[in-house]
Amino acid sequence: MISGERTREILKGLHDAVVSFDEDRAAQLSQSALNEGVDPYIAVVDGLADGMREVGDLYERKVYFVPELLLCGDALYAGLNILRPAIVASGREARVRGSLVIGVMEGDIHDIGKNLVKVMFEAAGWTIHDLGRDVKPERFVEELARTNSEIVALSTLMTTSMLGMPKVIGMIRDQTPRVRIMVGGAPLNRDVAVKYGADGYADNASGAVAEATRLVEALRQH
């Protein structure tokens, strides 16, 4: 039986490995967690994901920028790749916050923003269905139907590609009316999001998780 002190040491180590974007350390400590009997779900939530929360805070305070976020994401995934199979194998139902379909609009290949949003959702315990970039409108609808997700997040950097958003939103409303739709990307703002018929908007990756959480909680109350 692993001691409480050692558990806390491993969890803090996982947290710090993510914050200091130490991929090797994240992988090594994730393996130690498994070897020494730390609940892998706890290791994810109170170790890796907790680190990612601090990363989000550092990003909002303009201490970290995209390069650091990308590398923190690498460290997060290095740990998740080891811990997630163990969670599945244990048969334990991890508490999933929600299910999200995400993609970059048709005509646009700029996917850094989408990838950062994805990392933050992963860390927050969401199930992600990533359609990638230059995604045709019907793919969003198909994926929502296939996965029964509650939220769809549409991303774009280009002003021309953002013009496709009302069409995609309309298609989603027609096919899957219970889904809540978020938009994001440099040329967008909350006014445009409302104008386009979206339910939510965020101007950064951390804010996207908070916005989606708000939307999904409201959805579940109906």
Partner: protein
Amino acid sequence: MGLKPDRMSRDERMVALLKRQPLDRIPVFGFLLGFPAVNVGYAIADMYSDPQKAFDAMQWTTDQYGFQDIPWVSWSPRAEVEMPTGEYSQAPIVSRYPVTTEEEAWRLEMTVKREDGRATMKCAKLVEAAGGSFIDFPVATFTYAAGFCGVERLCRWAVRRPELAHRLLGLATRAGVQRVRHWVDTFGPERLLPFTAEPTASNQIISPKQFQEFVLPYIKELHEQMLSMGIKHILCHICGEQNLNLPYWAQVPMGDPGIVSFGHEVDIDVASRYFPDDIIMGNVEPAVIQTGRPEQVYELTRMCIEKGRKHPGGFMLAPGCELPPKSPPYNVWTMIKAVSDFGWYD
């Protein structure tokens, strides 16, 4: 509803602006890339691949709106790209980067060939043949280096393998300088108005510290080299959110004067403090021109004019980045209407 008649030709206005002489009204730069194609019924891809169509579309559109833009092909890519053909496509997209591994980055060598056969140069020769006073062409460093390997890889290497990032930046800068030399050899330096833009260097991507290390030395070298070749003015687009980088940008020589262009994220009053002697250009929010109501565009333009006209180095109104190709023409005209209503100097 009409516009007051201009008292200077567009050419006279641009020359006077750069000589710091009196102007009839605030000049307007349309920041034209794909919009002229939509405006005249061509494909956006033509603006990147067909010099004659690009030239014609730019000429007609600048004539129509009174924009100061110089016809150009803004990007004639060497990498494997897909041209913008879809309903929601705006610009060419790189489909395969030449560098995907560290080994490839170490091996990469740049051989800059003369550009006579390329669309950018062919369009510039059409401008020259038409007697244009200025010839515009694009050049960059950090953003160009990101074109070798992709932005994410360059970001990761800037932290993990800084020596590799510096290598790519050195290559990009040397290639840029060689390209400029070819253009100077072809057209002479006096008429050249190089356009530098660094969207990838914005604080939406990198930190000011990373800017200081990975952008400043290279863009400074590029600008210094261009000016040492006899180029008088550089049009530098400081794209996106760059407020934290401004102290560094202020160390980059822009010409005498340079034209320094800002996105809507940078307040014109702030820009004015950092570049008191250069011409400030900007910064109507492009997304508002595309999706806003005419009265919003009119008001934003009026506010830009009120701030910009106080700038001692001169001011040219423009969208904060590319004029969205599918902007409603009425919104574009509304910008011009606001200049006609508020932009006269006497």
